[in-house]
Point group: C2
Chain length 257, copies 2
DNA sequence: GCCCACTTGG
DNA sequence: CCAAGTGGGC
């Protein structure tokens, strides 16, 4: 079973990229972030044509998440319980016996911004909910754009990034708390393998991609039952080099179930 | 000798259209309107590559005119003398012994708008200057987007257009005053010929092109010496059907000199 | 409708 | 750098 995540930065603009990628990579589940689409505009028909069910919750201009799946999703939830939040950042569903939670975590803007406090509160609410879900679902995947690079080696330039937004101690602690609920960052199981690329996001600005100035901020986190069955986890870095790319690339984890 | 006019509605967007069209239609002079480019951004090099000299006067967002020519232009003028005008709407040059005046006449907005008064004042100043130029230059062409359809038959639907902006009596009188200086509307010399299309502009709105709801508002006006040498005048209507077209098409007049 | 400038978010 | 919204012009 393959489960993937991709922050598409506007599904309107990236719809053809996603369809083409799914054609070549017929994963079982794809979590999308930053669809930037209200639900009435979600292109369900195009994905159905490609053999995918879709569930989604979105808004104009910002945020918006979706889950595409080959098998029909059940027990769909469209928000974090226990947090009043205008932003559409969470969607969960059970697919083929696996609980999949797709998230678009807040960016945080800057350490001294109110948005940073929102980010930490949001992670705390997520951790609480994921702990509850993990208690119920043996097979659970939490995936998406976390806007946190967990370690110095997950940045192209630790001297530049350590302590800054996406790499600060409070953000890393917040991510760590998610892992403390018993989840494994699947990518780390395979990072020593050949041909593994280290990053999942490259800023549009300052030629981030040309300079390989990236971060690893998109993750697939798996419960013990799934982590032990994980056979691969990689970023599809080539997508960043296409025309009109998203600034994020897909990350795919494979499980032997 | 072929002299053409084209309101490109942003040369930034239409640069490739113009280059492709010139490749197939290597006219001697092409007058452009609505370049919407400041002079520092005018793509002279691309046109030089294609074998054209260029002179231009433009501004950000609005207006902007240019003359492209195979032969080097001389005696270039960049404005209407005798009118203080922020708008870059006029450019004149002598090319191969022909005085070419390229104009982007004001639209006028609506009959009761101050912009309408500006339009009439602008035409009056143009007529005065053209009369002076015509006295000096035997071979003279005044061409561009005049934003006036001279006669009912220059509209797709006279019942709708007569009396309205672009077709009102004062505007037609203002255009007539230009012709009174001894100029001929070249298109009328050939309008009975087969395969002649009647319009040069179709509104982007309401499927103007699909409905052939056009107007003839782009003209080539020639002095007697040139009018008697005129062998053809036609609109290149096919350009309106291309991808991301301007709302205007090129109009080409041919002179046997 | 389409194009531009400006703003906000990242 | 890229995307989306607003507002003006035609």
């Amino acid at each position: 079973m393959q489960i993937a995540t991709w922050n598409v930065n506007s599904l309107n603009v990236r719809q053809e990229h996603v369809l083409a990628w799914l054609e070549n990579n017929p994963v079982d589940v794809l979590a999308l972030q930053e669809t930037k689409l209200t639900d009435d505009r979600f292109p369900s028909a195009a994905f159905a044509e490609a053999g995918y069910h879709s569930v989604f919750t979105g808004q104009k201009t910002y945020n918006g998440v979706a889950l595409l799946s080959r098998d029909a999703p059940t027990d769909v939830e469209f928000a974090l319980p226990g947090l009043v939040d205008e932003h559409k950042r969470v969607i969960a569903a059970t697919v083929a016996g696996v609980r999949v939670i797709g998230v678009y975590c807040p960016n945080g803007a800057a350490l001294d911004s109110p948005k940073f406090d929102y980010k930490l509160d949001w992670f705390a609410a997520l951790a609480e909910w994921v702990a509850a879900e993990a208690a119920v679902h043996d097979r659970l995947v939490l995936t998406g754009d976390f806007n946190v690079a967990p370690r110095p080696e997950d940045t192209h330039d630790p001297d530049k990034w350590e302590g800054r937004i996406l790499c600060s101690p409070p953000e890393r602690a917040a991510l760590e708390k998610l892992l403390d609920t018993g989840l494994t960052d699947c990518w780390r199981l395979f990072e020593e393998r050949e041909g593994r690329h280290r990053f999942t996001w490259w800023d549009y600005r300052n030629g981030g991609w040309a300079r390989n100035a990236g971060l690893r901020i998109d993750h697939v986190l798996a419960s013990p039952a799934l982590a032990s069955a994980c056979r691969d986890c990689r970023a599809h870095v080539g997508e960043r080099g296409r025309k009109r790319p998203s600034d994020h690339v897909p990350v795919v984890a494979e499980f032997e179930l």
